[in-house]
């Protein structure tokens, strides 16, 4: 289907107004699109007919009407935007009138009589239009039915348009924050008791401004972890939740050796295998680990020793989700993340691990999904936007 620009190009080619480069374009267009070829053929036929028509005095009044139509188009210099009939050449205007008649009585197009009659009919229409409402068709009105319409057989109505509004005409302030509240899961979350409880917790609010926490929000691995099924299951696990409150566990998180070991893939892999000691002792990797300096240091660590006796820790070793998590790529990557490590020893974060509301929130799918959204992560990068979200979340009507 020809675009308006392509039609314009073909008409200008017939009128001899194209540049050499444009003429090449026309040639390529005609060769590639049958519709373009049909239009070009139609124009050439008309041109040939015109050349055969001798001078003939037009009906009285037709000339001034035509001139009036042409003069109105000549004063459109200040108009902008999309319009129909933009600077039509005289020949194109005649072609448009011509085509409307041609559609009706094609075989009669070959005679001068019909041509003159068509012109007279057009003049009659224009005269009728003039005396009924006094105005010939506006330059913003449509042309005639023909190939210029993108729905074949339908003449597209014209409409004056000024400057088209764009996104530059819109100025908003943090619309992404408000858009978050269009999510039903977020709505349920912010209206839940557990969310509202934790929002009032100073540790949580302090955490929002913590650099390590903010850095973590930007981390793709952290975001991926929020979506991980094993991680989700772990957050709901009673043993895991109990462990978060355990002093030994918390001390271990900030232990340098433990952190180093946590980055060790072998250690993690072994964790994933569970506490089957007998199987472990046959494992070559485990054997190698026995000689690892960090591991040896860990064995002497009081927190580690206390942890081995911890019922929750022991239960966790058998937890399938925990084991799965140890081999989770995102989780493993996170262990190496500096922000993650810094967070483990952050006082606010540590205090939060003991907070029942926070634990409940961590086990909430909606909260984890929220943390995984790009918008929420963006919020974390912008303290003002983050505060705005939290403040407005607290104002949501229950």
């Amino acid at each position: 289907m020809l675009t308006p620009h392509q039609r314009e190009l073909i008409h200008r080619e017939m009128d001899g107004e194209t540049t050499p480069e444009e003429s090449v374009q026309v040639g390529e267009l005609v060769a590639a699109q049958p519709e373009a070829l049909a239009l070009m053929t139609s124009l050439r036929e008309l041109d040939a007919i015109f050349r055969k028509v001798p001078d003939h005095a037009p009906p009285p009044g037709l000339r001034p009407l035509i001139h009036q139509a042409m003069s109105s188009t000549a004063t459109r210099s200040r108009r902008t935007g999309r319009t129909h009939g933009n600077t039509p050449a005289f020949s194109r205007w005649i072609v448009q009138q011509w085509n409307s008649v041609r559609n009706l009585t094609e075989e009669l197009m070959q005679t001068k009589t019909v041509l003159i009659g068509a012109a007279a009919a057009i003049a009659v229409v224009a005269i009728i239009g003039h005396f009924t409402v006094g105005y010939p068709p506006s330059v913003f009105d449509a042309g005639t039915i023909g190939a210029s319409d993108s729905i074949v057989g339908v003449q597209q109505a014209g409409r004056y348009r000024g400057r088209t509004m764009t996104d530059a005409d819109v100025s908003l302030s943090n619309p992404e924050v408000q858009a978050l509240f269009q999510d039903d899961k977020v709505l349920k979350l912010v209206q839940s008791d557990v969310f509202r409880t934790i929002m009032r917790d100073e540790s949580f609010r302090a955490l929002q401004t913590n650099a390590a926490y903010q850095a973590l929000q930007k981390d793709a691995d952290y975001a991926a972890l929020q979506k991980d099924a094993a991680y989700a299951a772990l957050q709901k696990d009673a043993a895991y939740m109990a462990l978060q409150k355990d002093a030994a566990w918390q001390a271990l998180q900030s232990n340098a050796e433990y952190q180093q070991l946590s980055r060790d893939e072998t250690f993690r892999m072994l964790q994933a295998k569970g506490v089957d000691r007998q199987a472990l002792e046959k494992d070559a990797a485990y054997t190698a680990l026995q000689k690892d300096a960090a591991y040896m240091a860990l064995q002497k660590n009081a927190a580690w020793q206390a942890l081995q006796k911890n019922a929750a820790w022991q239960a966790l070793q058998k937890n399938a989700a925990y084991q799965a998590l140890q081999s989770n790529a995102a989780y493993m990557a996170l262990q190496k993340n500096a922000a993650w490590q810094a967070l483990q020893s952050n006082a606010a974060y540590m205090a939060l691990q003991k907070n029942a509301a926070y634990q409940a929130l961590q086990s909430d799918n909606a909260f984890r999904m929220l943390q995984a959204t790009e918008t929420f992560r963006m919020l974390a990068r912008d303290q003002a936007a983050s505060e705005a979200f939290l403040t407005q979340a607290m104002r949501m009507e229950l």
Partner: protein, 996 residues
Amino acid sequence: MPQAHFRNSALTRGRALALFVAAFSGLTAPGRLSAQFQELSTPTMHLIYTSPLQSYLVPQVTASFERARQFHQQLFDYVPGDRTNVLMHDLWHYGNAGARPITENHVTIGIGPYGHDYESAPAPERMVSSMNHELAHIFTSDKPAASDRAFRSIFLGKVAPTPEVPLSVLYSYLTVPRWYAPRWYLEGIATYLETWMNGGMGRVIGPYDEMVFRTIVRDSARMYDVVGLESEGTTIDFQVGSNSYLYGTRFVSYLALQYGNDRMLSWFDRGKGSKAYFAAQFRHVFGTSLEEEWSRWIEWEKAWQTGNLAAIRQHPVTRARPLTDRVLGSVSHAWHDSATASILVAVRYPGQEAHIASIDVASGRFTRIQDIPGASGLSVTSLAFDPSSRTLFYTTNNSDWRHLLALDLATGDTRVLLRNARIGDLAFNRADRALWGVRHDNGFSTLVRLPYPYTEWNQVHTLPYGSDLFDLDVAHDGSAIIASMSGISGDQRLVRMEMASLLQGDATPDVLYEFGDWSPSNFVFSDDGRFLYGSSYYSGVSNIFRYDVERRRMQPLSNAETGFFKPVPLPGDSLVAFEYSRLGFVPSMIPETVPDSVSAVRFLGNEIAERRPEVQEWMVGPMPAVDRDALAAATTGYSALRNFKLDNVYPVVEGYQDSAGTLGVAGGLRAGFSDRLGATALDLTASYSPAPSLATDERVHLRADFRSWNWRLSGTFNQADFYDLFGPTRTSRRGYSLSGQYRGNLIIDGPTELSYTLRAAAYGNLATVPEFQDVAASSDKLATFTGELDYQSLRRSLGATDDELGSTWNLAFRGNYAGSRFQPRVSLDLSRGFLLPLDHSSIWFRASGGTSIGGDREDPFARTYFGGFGNNWVDYRDIKQFRGTESFPGLEINQVSGARYGKAQVEWVSPPLRFRKVGIPSAYFRWARLSVFGSGLVTDFDNDVTRRSYVSVGVQADIRMITLSHLASTLSFGFAVADGQGIPRSSELLISLKLM
């Protein structure tokens, strides 16, 4: 009372404020919710918004306001003296806006996306468009001439009319005369300017407007004249208030084209030498009467539309076969029920409540199925259909926060699925039984999915601000969704989204067709999914189109003279479409054939753009830079106290009658104060009666009335009242009083409200009982406590003059403590109304009962008094006082009483008689209506000795008149005869004029 002019809504200022206050003081403490209000002040604007969630819009609203203000300031050469108040809220499903110049310049904006019904109001970004429109109202009505300024100085501000002080109407006119013009006048100029400020996007180049007038001319129907438009065209026509926009825009556009913009604008300008009254100014500018030029416009319009019809008729027009012999008014999206071979559609036409109906395709038999409370203007409701379970899904409360309901067609049972879901544009997925829709919340449009059993909605995709999806449909195999999509520029396109992608969170649309300026509407899938059927004004006329999905080709299926909409594909070679007619839409069968050709029509607006090219310079420029941080920093919580100010002071005249019956005329002043929302206000009135016949201590009259959200505090001293000058009802009382009242809302759900009122009052130096005139008080001191529970669920059909159906009940407890005795009373009032098959005719049943509890039954504080119609000769209260519990037409006021009573009443209300053209633009009759009623009363029915029974029959005729375009007065005539035990048969004649 003048209306705040809302863009597409019939809300009056009073109702809007009432809803606003109710919504924000409803289910929770008002202080908590109103504490969320935020305020931003700029040198030219006070912006108040009702929730911090709307803060994201502040830069856009601020910049749009400023651009529009600068344009209008230059165009009208006027700088408003005060900042304009802009109230932003999210109470409506669709975006809307309104403006008023009294007592301050005020604009209200609902931030929801605009509706797209029939492209009746094309527009680009809505804040820009709303400000362009609403500030036109402000500037055309607020700009004062020297005399207006003088009166504003005398009254210390602009005066808002209040029914309690009828003289306030005169003062209001003197301060803001151009506000007292018909709505078409105000909307015409606003829509005209809005269109050009939007760069051509508006009703002046509106296909819907062209269609309306083209249809009138085609059918040789009557075009309303100046008076007829207001008396009939805006009250009974199925387009009611929209006619103001249609006719106003058209007439103003005609004037601009014929005489030029300068002359047309002179009509609206209130400069030096201009006339105050709009019609007088018209003659002053054009040298002819408004009526004469209106007639010339009608002839011009006929010629214009004749030309358009000739263009359409160049090619064979589509002949449609109507399915029914009735016109349906407004219609919803329609569905084919193959099980019954019928069309299911919601309709709304004058005279009957909006409802869902079934139309047999073969016979045209029309069957009413289910009423729809809270139907919306042009689209009635959002309707979807599950053919397998034969369940219809529809929405109520369509102008507010929509509810979602399901109707089982087999059983007729209806159940509410989700309240306040705010979801419309429903579409049903047959593959998984899920519902899809578009949710409007906080200015955003969100595509949502409601999985069976529809107890929750899930977000699928939230569109960026300024974009909207509408007219959804789901492929029958569930593979895809199609919709119309609009953007910031106002351009529209038909899009398709793969279901599988959507459910994975990918809402990237495949643009099937760019319609550009002309909205694709109601496209639906064929049964086999090969085609889509919809409508578009592509040629300027709404025709049906078929889209070949595989070939990606659009074809016309009609060449309409008026317009075809909402196609319903049928098996075979035909389809149903709704053809526009003068009285509404007609379901019709059209062949599924491609017409020969379709010609475009011309738009009046295009003529203006060419021949009056200065309008091309009116488009507001690019958005100015906005310092968002500065705006945020300047935003504070809204404080009513900080925004409390004097509105005006003006003289009053009151009447005061003492217990001896001596009437004195008092003169004084009334001062009004309020905050910017109008939710907190204080009125102080002081007057003095110089008549020597009145006791010295009864010549000074004071009244103070303070309102703040749910609270009301009042105080009186020798209360006087303007209407006491006329009688027979008198409210003036000797003595002093102090009262406090709290009114809370337990339920606000569309037409249904349940509220409670608690009131405590203390009186001193009484001569008569405060409740009942001419009843001597047994004690000069009185303390009362009243508790009321009030329920009402009242509805009315399109074009109604009063509530036509529904029910109410009121349970009240009143305790009077006087003379060291406590006299409690309880009462219960019930009413139920039914709309009869005769359009706009209702029958009402009422029952009341009450009793004193303990105490001295003979004490006047323990008794309830009855008698009289209850209307004053000149009044401001409800014209139907005979419906009140204490009214009993035929008896004298308070003639009979009882400590215990029972009362019943039946009333038949006739359809109104409309006056087509009785009057002149400044004063005309609108309608007349008759009520016939019969009442029965039994007092002290528990005491054989004192029991009395009474009967009364009567009629009351009411005639509504409109003066100064806004003043709705009612002249009532009535006659009743009463008879009863112990009294002679008596009659009563009523003549009452309710001024406002």
